[in-house]
Symmetry: C2
Subunit: 219 residues, 2 copies
């Protein structure tokens, strides 16, 4: 391994320096902040509904700057998807780390309704609002969105398979089926949020779901 210095912080600094441009007119905007604004626009308007004018206005840059920094609309959305992944997966993974499976799933759902009713971002989930169907426009990025939804479900499934090994699931409860069931409910909550349901209302739905979920786990 190449020695970039004495600590990993040095290594990070070196990597950053390597990716930073050294010559030419410096970029007048923060690429990360612009990407976050793009995330917000795609979240709010959907992939098709977000025009280049919507994006550049929110990002505070002009059109050629967007293309120079991000490629095109499709590649910008792919980066947005990656950013959304970074923002959502850690909290899912953290919830699922709880030793008790019931608490893990409870935390998962409670964190979920916090996120989909966060007033600082659009209601619901980007992965559901953003690209609901596959058509000529969305075809290039449709599968990536579905894959990310399936990726979240896999996180739940893997945790449930641990529980199944440990004998924590009730009789005739398949972890794959239960993961799909929880994911369905979670995604449905996102639609409820878009419908206008409040956090308190979603909380009561989660509590009802959890009462039923207990039957599927061993005491």
């Amino acid at each position: 391994m190449i020695n970039y210095g004495q600590s990993s912080l040095d290594w990070l600094a070196t990597m950053k320096a390597m990716t930073e441009q050294k010559v030419g007119r410096p970029r007048a905007f923060d690429r990360d902040q612009a990407l976050f604004q793009a995330l917000n626009v795609f979240w709010r308007l959907g992939y098709e509904g977000a025009s280049l004018s919507d994006l550049t206005e929110a990002m505070g840059i002009n059109r050629p700057s967007l293309y120079a920094a991000f490629g095109n609309k499709e590649q910008l959305f792919r980066e947005v998807l990656a950013r959304y992944h970074e923002l959502s997966v850690p909290s899912i993974a953290m919830a699922l780390e709880h030793a008790e499976i019931y608490v893990a799933l409870e935390q998962l759902l409670r964190i979920n309704i916090r996120q989909i009713t966060n007033p600082n971002v659009p209601a619901g989930c980007l992965l559901i609002r953003g690209v609901p169907v596959c058509n000529d426009t969305t075809a290039p990025i449709y599968q990536a969105v579905v894959d990310q939804r399936l990726g979240q479900e896999s996180l739940i499934r893997e945790r449930l398979e641990q529980s199944a090994q440990a004998g924590e699931l009730a009789a005739n409860v398949d972890p794959v089926d239960l993961a799909r069931t929880i994911m369905a409910f979670s995604n449905g909550l996102s639609i409820q949020s878009v419908n206008g349901a409040t956090h308190a209302e979603l909380e009561r739905s989660v509590e009802l779901f959890l009462r039923g979920l207990k039957v599927l786990l061993v005491a």
Copy 2:
């Protein structure tokens, strides 16, 4: 009341004759069949993704014929929504007619997964695929879609309120909350279907959900 004849069939015939054109070149296409094709296109491509070219091609008519018969894209979609309502609500209502609340909800979910995995139509639900967000394009019809989703939830809620009156719900189970919970799960199944889940897989998720649901109802 005006007497249109001896029977309600005569009345229907009279109404039909009144709405049928009597003068001018006759329409060369079946309006109902064209509307059904439009439903299919909106279902498959979404409201934004369905272009007038997509619509006219599938409907087998040219552009001025569409505008003469349906007004414009927005009004056509409103008629499509009404058609979808006619196709979906009766089966929901029929399922909920069962005397036993558990059976009613079971039928509801089983009919639901039959419909959202029907190979003759696009996967999932038009009300979720068709108009996921509100933007400049979808604003005129967005609320109508949300209202139809809420209308389906109301059907469930009203049935559950009957059960609550009859003491068929477990302690601390509010019918409004339970209706929202069931609707969320049902909508999530629609997304699972779009993800590629099979009917058999959704059936197993429904069965797990029903096992939990039993706890929320009195034996």
